[in-house]
Subunit: 556 residues, 2 copies
Amino acid sequence: MGFQIISGCPATTGEDYQLNTISVLRHASSVYPEVEIASRREDGTIFRYCYREAYERVCRLANGLQRLGIKPGDRVGVMDWNTYRHFELYMAISGIGAVMLQMNPRLAVDDIAYIVGHSETRFIFVAESLLPVIEAIAKKVSTVEGYGVITDKEPEAVATTLSPLWSYEELLSAEEPRYPWQMIDERSAYSACYTSGTTGKPKGVYYSHRSVYLHTTAVAVTFGINASDVLLQMVPMFHAQGWGFWLAAPMTGAKLVFSGRYTLDTTHTLVDLIVSEKASVTAGAPALFMPMLQYIRTLPQKPDFSRLRIASGATEPPLAMMREFFELCRAEFIHAYGATETSPVATVNLLKPSLQGWPKERQWENQKKQGLPVAGVEIRIIGADGNEAPHDGQTVGELLIRGPWIASSYHNDSRTAECFRDGFWISGDAATIDPHGYVKITDRVKDMIKSGGEWISSIDLENAIMAHPEVVEASVVGIAHPKWQERPLALVVVRKEAGGKVTKEDILQFIAPKFAKWQLPDDVLFVDSIPKTSVGKFSKKTMRERYAGYFNSPGK
Amino acid sequence: MGFQIISGCPATTGEDYQLNTISVLRHASSVYPEVEIASRREDGTIFRYCYREAYERVCRLANGLQRLGIKPGDRVGVMDWNTYRHFELYMAISGIGAVMLQMNPRLAVDDIAYIVGHSETRFIFVAESLLPVIEAIAKKVSTVEGYGVITDKEPEAVATTLSPLWSYEELLSAEEPRYPWQMIDERSAYSACYTSGTTGKPKGVYYSHRSVYLHTTAVAVTFGINASDVLLQMVPMFHAQGWGFWLAAPMTGAKLVFSGRYTLDTTHTLVDLIVSEKASVTAGAPALFMPMLQYIRTLPQKPDFSRLRIASGATEPPLAMMREFFELCRAEFIHAYGATETSPVATVNLLKPSLQGWPKERQWENQKKQGLPVAGVEIRIIGADGNEAPHDGQTVGELLIRGPWIASSYHNDSRTAECFRDGFWISGDAATIDPHGYVKITDRVKDMIKSGGEWISSIDLENAIMAHPEVVEASVVGIAHPKWQERPLALVVVRKEAGGKVTKEDILQFIAPKFAKWQLPDDVLFVDSIPKTSVGKFSKKTMRERYAGYFNSPGK
């Protein structure tokens, strides 16, 4: 675990009482039985019931799972959209001590098969509209003993090659709406989510009951969620447990809304849901908000979202989008940072009262940062010299994160050794922390340029160069240097009309005011295009290889 | 522990990362370094500093405690008013793994000496103005090795017989403002509080780091505390850790205000502090709010407390006082219930959104209840038949409470056996739970009348009889009955002028509409006075003894 634990005098409070996820729903069923859960069906209609009814169905499902032979510790996969049944599966599978494997239908078939095999999943529940995805892996997975199809239809009416097959509703209807819940060891896994990293096989993060319970309370405290709220679950529930927002609803008595199925082409259904269900809290990625904004622009009457807080996650918060959203419909964006390994909420950008006197422009500027560490999360930035970097908003360090809901290993994975240190997750992100406590991701560490014991941010250089009116795109990479270890080299594409007219000196002069002299690129190369990866990102790997010996040439 | 724990699949999140109280202040020092702590001195002036400075002084104190030889597990007593130094002691003592004993200066000398001895306290910190209390017990306690006097003065200027003696500020000034905090086992005790029950010796509740951390997050979620708040610590910090409110401030970045010393005669200083520091959250007992209200009545310009939430604890919430407070200055009262054994927040009376359509009068009436169980706390009411009573708002049961911050034993105390069952604390309170989930304390179980397998509330009968215009006071006790086990007997004192004119039939007719026939007293006796205890409460014990054979006489 990387640290010592000191024992003091034994206490007399309920230390053996385990933090269990099912207790959150039991609480809601007992204290907020009447509060509504609304869930958008694929046909656009809304299914509605309340926490008491949800709880009774979760009891039926728990009995059904037990009848299928699912035991504590077993893994059960779920591939579904954001629906009330997905919610029931989360609650019931973890409630009986089993582990819900979060399955992302957008992953490559081989990755899905790897995840099912690596987790030794025994049973898979799948939405009817996602059956083809599971059918494509069925022959590749040897651990799966059966399938449950999530549908409103009679099981006979479902066309599939999967076998043996149960229908979700058939499973529930045979059971009692009561279940004798046991106390589950809070250190046991409640759900598993595999990273979809760009390199190598997915890595398994197994969230414990304890970690999810604590993460949920942190989300509730940080976003101020209470019984007056209406929480719209928009983030897919297979992405780092849907950012854990939905569980804050039964904890606080808030109304819960599930978005159902949507694509980037149908995000108007999300806007309509916010309006019709009076949503006050939601979370998602900018990729969703951009088309939502486009839809809002077309509306003759703009909706009033002045009650709405939107948690948004992205490395570089899209400020223009956030401003336009606010100007059109008064929605407040709250930028947050995290990863599969952090459950995921690690930092949240709320404006501190002490900064509310800042000019509005400076406040917007501040929103570009990843934000303040959430209470309970410990964050360090380790500089190029191996020491903790000062919180001066300037010195860059590698971001390390530790805490009760931060991964401290991967499930059965030798990469644990390189990804964790002293209980900290090594995020791979390079960041600064300013004197007010705000964390700002500046780069990926692997894209940082290590020059003379200091780090130079390639992203900062790129953004500065791209602000030049004649520049179409630019990328900066660190190239080995005999004296300084690495030095920055800039590759720049200029507008056709400007070809040959923009010089290295023009570029360096243009960006000089924003950087120390030693941070400026040693050279600027004008190229026709910048090498890209298959998903359209700059391929820094290709560039580093192509220019590997560049600074070793004489005269450089 | 009274329950089985089932193990599932091991998780990969930070299960070994311990919930420690010092991490809350470290968080505030790092994320909210600039946020103010204000503390009223005995001379009425305000001491001010910020979380960063508080943290540095806590580091100095931790070094000083270590120099005194305090080790993990040791008990260190503190007797102080609500001050910033009391806060520092809480943080530093628990931070090094020792246990802070909460010392109530208003207890009897023998009880204080018992508590110090039972807890084997090694060192006591005491406010200069409370020195006489500690001097009075010094000869009776053998475990104490030294004393720290909490004062602004030079140590030589302090007149006391205590020895050896250190000055608090002297201790700090010699030390470094940094401390190498270790991870403390979260199940270890952070602070101890002894009950001041009316019968028998005080019983020791030792709160763990874990329990306090979880209680603090629950307080923050339930009362919606955030960085915009100003939290006034009014409840004495030796009463069930000051109801745990103050620790929610560094957790959320709220400003923290300590009330300093006050008495029931100087509660106007509390009103003035709310005004001058713009307090938005506080907590206390109605005994404080009554004189505060009297002071507010005298103010020509009523303060605007529309931002203020006041958590108030009392078995019978004083509705008239709450209404007048609201009408005069818009302060919102939130009635809460708990005990030393519950850390203390167990239920909180917030009006659910689904009830906000109720007529205002019904909403006020609802505020008389103890409220909704806080998320994380498990509550049961066990009826006279030994089964869980239905949540119908009618059936009375004994209130049992269980959860991560609820006591599950007493420290080295044989009374543990009778006070806990299956991990639940047996509260001794009789209560109903209504279909909306609200808990209402109806009585102490020992004052309940067990009649034919049902319970009758003596308090309900008393209140109903006392509403009669000619009645001065009334008490109802359960007296042994050959057929029904017990039956209610009412003792009534009427106004002098009404003597002889009010009959048993008058009383029974007056209260009949509110009760089932079998709940009415079998007899009403008119007496000159009702026996009282030394603190002025009805002595039901005396009455039960005096009338023990009453229903055994022929013809009764």
